[in-house]
């Protein structure tokens, strides 16, 4: 295995383009290093991107937040503006691992590891976040939703790299929330999870919603029927019941050592309702 530290994304793209074997990127390394140690991956080239200028920065414009690819969970949590605007995303990221892991783990690493249970991804999908990608043909932007295509697989070409996460500015009267279920209180992998992002109308009812689910399908699901269940409501019992049913209906989980199909399907609905209530209150709604 060759280990290279690069000073620009362009160099990373060149290196990956000329490497015959398998390439991996070392962001926080909290997935990569563990997988290396367990012998689960054997890359031929490992590229450290943390010395590239700007990768540790969060910048904000009138339209979006731009989050560098080496910003750790702990750093994300220290950005007061971001936390106030997108508490669901920040909380999702902060759920990852322990204090030690928080010092390293990144949003993009979580996304590109492409686990169906990745904690930061549902909230990013609900927020309609996008990522910026550099490849030999230049830059492009895609929805976070389209990055993961199967467990462990992304849509990125072998010589493409993500250069930033772009998060729209949150609108007025809106709120987001993320909840996961684990059998313990920390240091575990989501058995089911749900993220809800809501915008309220003048009258306090839901004007638009994005509901996504994790760990209940090969990739994170954006559930349109779940959003429809909420729109126009003030989260009355009937709307929540609809939401729960729509979520459960969308699930196609597996039975494994972490949970049964039945359990995951039901829990996804329960979490979606609870997350919807938090998002609703954050948007200024009262229950």
């Amino acid at each position: 295995m060759r280990y290279v530290g690069v000073n620009s994304f362009a160099d990373a793209v060149d290196l990956m383009g000329s490497e015959q074997g398998k390439c991996m990127i070392l962001a926080g390394g909290t997935d990569v290093l563990v997988q290396l140690k367990l012998g689960l991956v054997e890359p031929d080239l490992l590229i450290n991107i943390k010395a590239i200028p700007g990768v540790k920065e969060i910048s904000v414009s009138s339209t979006e937040y731009r989050i560098g690819v080496a910003v750790s969970g702990a750093e994300l949590g220290e950005d007061a503006g971001l936390k106030a605007e997108w508490p669901g995303i920040v909380e999702a990221m902060e759920l990852i691992g322990s204090t030690q892991v928080q010092g390293r783990a990144t949003l993009v690493g979580n996304l590109c590891n492409a686990s169906p249970a990745a904690d930061a991804v549902p909230a990013l999908v609900s927020a309609a976040a996008r990522v910026e990608i550099l490849g030999p043909l230049g830059r492009r932007k895609i929805n976070v939703k389209d990055v993961t295509i199967a467990p462990g697989k992304t849509s990125l070409a072998k010589d493409e790299i993500i250069t930033a996460v772009c998060l729209p500015r949150q609108q007025k009267n809106s709120g987001d929330a993320y909840l996961r279920f684990i059998p313990r209180t920390e240091m575990d992998i989501a058995v089911a999870s749900a993220a809800v992002n809501l915008i309220l109308a003048q009258d306090g009812s839901v004007q638009s919603a994005r509901v996504s689910l994790g760990a209940v399908a090969p990739t994170v699901l954006l559930v349109d029927d779940a959003a429809k269940a909420l729109v126009g409501s003030k989260l009355d019992d009937a709307a929540l019941e609809q939401l729960s049913m729509a979520c459960s209906a969308a699930c196609s989980p597996i039975d494994d050592r972490r949970g049964t199909i039945d359990f995951r399907t039901k829990t996804a609905g329960v979490l979606a309702c609870r997350a919807a209530k938090i998002a609703f209150q954050r948007a200024g709604g009262s229950l």
Partner: protein
């Protein structure tokens, strides 16, 4: 009961001697020893649950640059004793891989990465065989049998071959007892295999010299036992194998045998160099010993007033790939808490294609007691009786003929139950979706062989060498007992764990025996030293030794007739020892056998989320009779640790096997021990009913605390969720399934 003695040192809480080294990272654990020219070893393990090893081709691995030795079972010789042979074959498969993770070959190389590369070059041809991992399936007549003709004579003829041991304890006539009951409940329970979960993986460094002598450093609960087993496997004299126990990062019974030490020794002998072998966590789960899983039928009869009329337990334990005898402990413990006229406990030990079980804290007791206590709780609820009152009514007391035979001497069960009932926890109000559980538990405790050697230094300090690895603060407790007996401050004493060449044989640190047995040997060694010091004082004064006596750390004349001399302190006698006959020492070797049984009562409140089945442990209090708490902090630590391990066993810990017979959760991510944030502070109440068999009243306290939590948490969860569960762990999917089934 003994009149309670006043102590100066016992019952205080000095800092443990190994504390600073441990918190500053200086302590040397199993993997922290290095030797010049040391090689690194790795073990190749079977990916199959059960497979004949048709051939192993190691030539490519041997040819790899940097590889210094490759071994298979062909590198081990014959061994006479069946037990040691099984241990050897567990360390290295002999013709048949018996479980997923069973060692089939090992390499020693100049680096870890070369060793890892070499493993991939070893070609093993397997012929897979049918496998069985469930205890009930393994007891079926058509189940694949792991070893033919290995049934103990206790097993009834015609019993399927995987059943290797049977036992039957009790007295009276249970059928008559059930016939007389107002209500009889019969239930079937299942519990999963759990791992001790020690944080330090098995690790050792072996160095076999060209003269055939060897040194071995390892993380173990008993280095004399390691020496015994390894010397036999290696065909060495015990005197030529010196074993040093490292500091130990947890054992809980899991380090009472060997898994890698013979492999490291064999590699070192073949390579002619020191060899270090450290298990990964994955290997610890797959190839060290978890405890047994169980399937159990419990039948108990009770009268409306709460009196138990009879109890019958049938325990079927799954203990992995080799014959073993451990269900006996469960059968003896099952009803030990109760004074019963009619009682019977039967047990079956069963082999399966899983790693061979090894002791885990009160081995065999927690699951049996879980099942029995759960039914007693259900019966108490049936008659609307207070669960503690029912237990007090039926409790074993001094003079009770126990369910397993012996008659109890002074014991502290009723005291523990009464303390629990009077505690504010028991009457505290419960919130919504919360429930409270109570359970008793029991453990035998143990004496065993022990050696202690004590030197009185010329400056009045004391060095003490004992042979039992310190897994719970015992060096502090031993120093305290020496200080109490010698009448000098704790700080003047240094206790170390000697290697096998420095002090006499000592049994393994298990059975909650160390503070009891090493304590007695320490007291006797101190008495021997005191007797010598009396002689020296008498000699100094020129009077008869009968005319002096030891009082509070000094020798005094027995009275005016003996002569008027100012007392001579230990320090004064020690300072003068060079002129009165040379160094002063005391030692004791023995096998104390009056260990006192210990009972405990646990109270727990849980809250269950009715929509997800998530359980939160809200409050937990442990009451336990420890006889005498030498160092109360370390006693409390044992009580808390046992409770926490039991909580894990009750809620989430389990070995999960797939259809293919492979372990699916060989890591701490999916083998879920509780993390700190899962737990409330575990409160403790120490009960002290002295053990008449120990000069200070010590019983032993390390194991009892893991026995009650399974049923206590079980009862609390059932009460909180409004369902009854009969299977551990009570993971959220199982709780939800029960809640949904009730709707």
């Amino acid at each position: 009961m003994n009149v309670k003695r006043k102590f100066k040192v016992l019952g205080t809480r000095p800092v443990r001697p190994d504390g600073v080294e441990k918190v500053t990272g200086k302590a040397l654990f199993g993997a922290d020893t290095y030797a010049t020219g040391m090689l690194h070893a790795r073990i190749l393990r079977s990916p199959h649950a059960h497979a004949r090893i048709v051939s192993i081709d190691t030539s490519a691995a041997e040819a790899l640059a940097g590889v210094k030795a490759v071994i298979t079972s062909a590198d081990f010789g014959e061994v006479d004793s069946e037990m040691t042979r099984d241990t050897m074959h567990n360390c290295m498969a002999n013709g048949v891989a018996l479980y997923d993770g069973h060692a089939v070959a090992a390499v020693a190389a100049i680096s870890k990465s070369v060793a890892a590369a070499a493993l991939k070059l070893i070609k093993v041809e397997y012929e897979t065989l049918p496998h069985v991992t469930d205890v009930d399936a393994a007891m079926q007549p058509d189940a694949p049998v792991l070893h033919a003709n290995r049934q103990h004579r206790s097993v009834v003829a015609g019993t399927p071959g995987n059943v290797v041991y049977y036992c039957d304890f009790g007295h009276g006539d249970v059928d008559a007892g059930f016939a007389a009951a107002d209500k009889v409940i019969e239930r079937t329970f299942k519990t999963a295999a759990t791992h001790q979960g020690y944080i330090e993986p098995h690790a050792c460094l072996a160095n076999v010299g060209s003269d055939g002598k060897a040194d071995l450093w390892c993380s173990t609960q008993g280095h004399y036992n390691v020496r015994l087993i390894c010397a036999e496997i290696m065909g060495m004299d015990e005197s030529q194998l010196r074993v040093t126990a490292s500091e130990i990062g947890g054992g809980f019974g899991g380090k009472t045998t060997v898994f890698i030490e013979p492999v490291a020794l064999a590699l070192s002998r073949k390579a002619g160099k020191p060899v270090k072998l450290v298990m990964s966590r994955d290997e610890v789960f797959r190839a060290s010993g978890p405890t047994m899983s169980a399937s159990m039928d419990i039948k108990i009869g009770m009268n409306a007033d709460g009196k138990i009329t009879a109890g019958h337990a049938k325990l079927r334990y799954q203990g992995g790939a080799f014959p073993y005898q451990m269900v006996m402990m469960g059968a003896m413990s099952a009803f030990a808490t109760y004074d019963l006229e009619h009682v019977r406990a039967e047990g079956w030990d069963v082999m399966t294609n899983r790693p061979k079980m090894i002791s885990y804290r009160a081995p065999g007791a927690p699951m049996a007691v879980y099942a029995v206590e759960s039914v007693i709780g259900e019966l108490a609820a049936e008659f609307d009786l207070d669960p503690i009152d029912v237990r007090i009514l039926n409790a074993s007391r001094e003079g009770t003929k126990s369910s397993y035979g012996p008659t109890f001497k002074a014991i502290g069960l009723v005291e523990s139950l009464e303390a629990a009932k009077a505690h504010p926890h028991y009457s505290a109000p419960l919130g919504a979706n919360q429930g409270r559980g109570v359970s008793c538990g029991f453990w035998f405790n143990f004496g065993g062989q022990v050696s202690v050697s004590m030197a009185i230094n010329a400056d009045g300090t004391v060095n003490l060498i004992e042979g039992n690895p310190d897994i719970g603060g015992s060096r502090a407790s031993i120093s305290m007992m020496a200080a109490e007996e010698l009448g000098i401050p704790y700080e003047k004493i240094k206790t170390i764990i000697g290697d096998t060449a420095s002090v006499g044989f000592s049994d393994v640190t298990d059975g909650s025996r160390v503070t009891f047995a090493v304590g007695i040997a320490t007291i006797n060694a101190a008495k021997a030293a005191k007797a010598e010091m009396c002689k020296r004082a008498a000699k100094t004064w020129g009077i008869d030794v009968d005319a002096v006596e030891w009082i509070d750390g000094a020798v005094h004349p027995t009275g005016h007739n003996a002569g008027e001399f100012p007392p001579l302190s230990l320090a004064e006698i020690a300072a003068n020892s060079g002129r009165t006959g040379g160094p002063i020492a005391g030692h004791h070797e023995g096998a104390p056998d009056k260990a006192g049984v210990s009972f405990g009562v646990h109270l727990v409140d849980t809250e269950v989320d009715p929509e997800t089945g998530f359980t939160t442990v809200k409050r937990y209090t442990v009451f336990q009779d420890v006889g005498k708490a030498i160092h109360p902090s370390y006693v409390e630590g044992q009580m808390q640790g046992g409770a926490v391990q039991g909580i894990g066993w009750a809620l989430n810990e389990e070995y999960i096997y797939g259809e293919d017979g492979r372990l699916q959760n060989a890591g701490f991510l999916d083998y879920r021990i509780p993390v700190a944030s899962d737990l409330p502070m575990i409160d403790t109440v120490i009960i002290e009913v002295p053990n008449p068999g120990h000069p200070f009243g010590v019983r032993g306290c390390g194991e009892t605390a893991i026995v009650p939590p399974l049923a206590a948490v079980g009862a609390a969860v059932c009460a909180a969720a409004g369902v009854r569960l009969f299977e551990l762990p009570m993971s959220p999917p199982k709780i939800m399934a029960a809640i949904d089934a009730k709707k």
